[in-house]
């Protein structure tokens, strides 16, 4: 079953308190080379049937209107997921 992936991130210029808290935890674990963390969202839209251009457009529209708030977030990517290596053990 194809999946459309939508990735949304807080705007770059925005303070990201959640990312900051995660960065703090990483530093407490002793990794100092990771200087900053930003925390976003990944949506997986499962599709019944083929993904055509019209459906991708719909997904882009949903990403802009519902899945993100343009005031505070950017839609980074809307794409069809690579089919995972089907069949376990393959």
């Amino acid at each position: 079953m194809p999946t459309i992936v939508v990735e949304v991130m807080p705007k770059a210029e925005l303070l990201d308190p959640a990312g900051k808290a995660v960065a703090g935890a990483i530093h407490r674990l002793g990794e100092s080379r990771i200087t900053d963390v930003r925390l976003g969202k990944r949506f997986e839209l499962h599709v019944d049937g083929e993904v055509d251009d019209a459906l991708l457009d719909t997904a882009r529209q949903l990403a802009a209107d519902l899945l993100s708030n343009g005031v505070i977030e950017d839609v980074v990517s809307v794409h069809v997921a690579e089919q995972a290596a089907a069949g376990a053990g393959a």
Binding site: P17, A18, A21, L67, N69, V71
Partner: protein, 231 residues
Amino acid sequence: MRVGVVTFPGSLDDRDAMRAVRLAGAEPVALWHGEHDLKGVDAIVLPGGFSYGDYLRAGAIAARSPIMAEVIDAANGGMPVLGICNGFQILVEAHLLPGGLIRNDHGDFIRRDQRLRVESTASAWTNGFTEGQEIVIPLKNGEGGYIADEATLDRLEGEGLVAFRYLDVNPNGSLRDIAGLRNERGNVVGLMPHPEHAVEAGFGPDTTSAMRSGTDGLTFFTSVLKQSVLN
């Protein structure tokens, strides 16, 4: 006057808002998020809480719930609508007020009795205050940081649409200390602090005269009554 209070899944302060409406002298009417019926109310309160678990973004799913279609139409038609805390987030997500609300800059949920300055009395919910009046009402939120781009902030200031500003402490990193807004017409007001928790002596913030005697929040609800008389 009949004032509707919408209950969403996850609303916490709907009963408090209804009580505030009653104490102000109006008739509270319970409205349900899943219906398209405003039951003939004259004004609407979107209460605080965590509608739909605040999944996606605070207020985002609630802003697209069935009853919001009617609320948005009514607001655009001039009906007074007050959004408190999660209700403010819903108004912003519904594009009835500009900007956005993000997680508090310090990352913590905060609860305090908050001093505010009333910046605009030109609205259905603030006409009972005087310009520049200082009030104290409770604040409690995790995502109360108000943001907008510079052009929007300048427009809000220039047109006098900032309704309330934080005094003493900016509790969440809100830009320009903005605690609440009104729309151009003055019928829609949204703010992060909770007026409905300061409407009855014995249950509000402390004042210099007595513990828990603060009732500054009641003026929001009496203002809308006055507005309906004026109309």
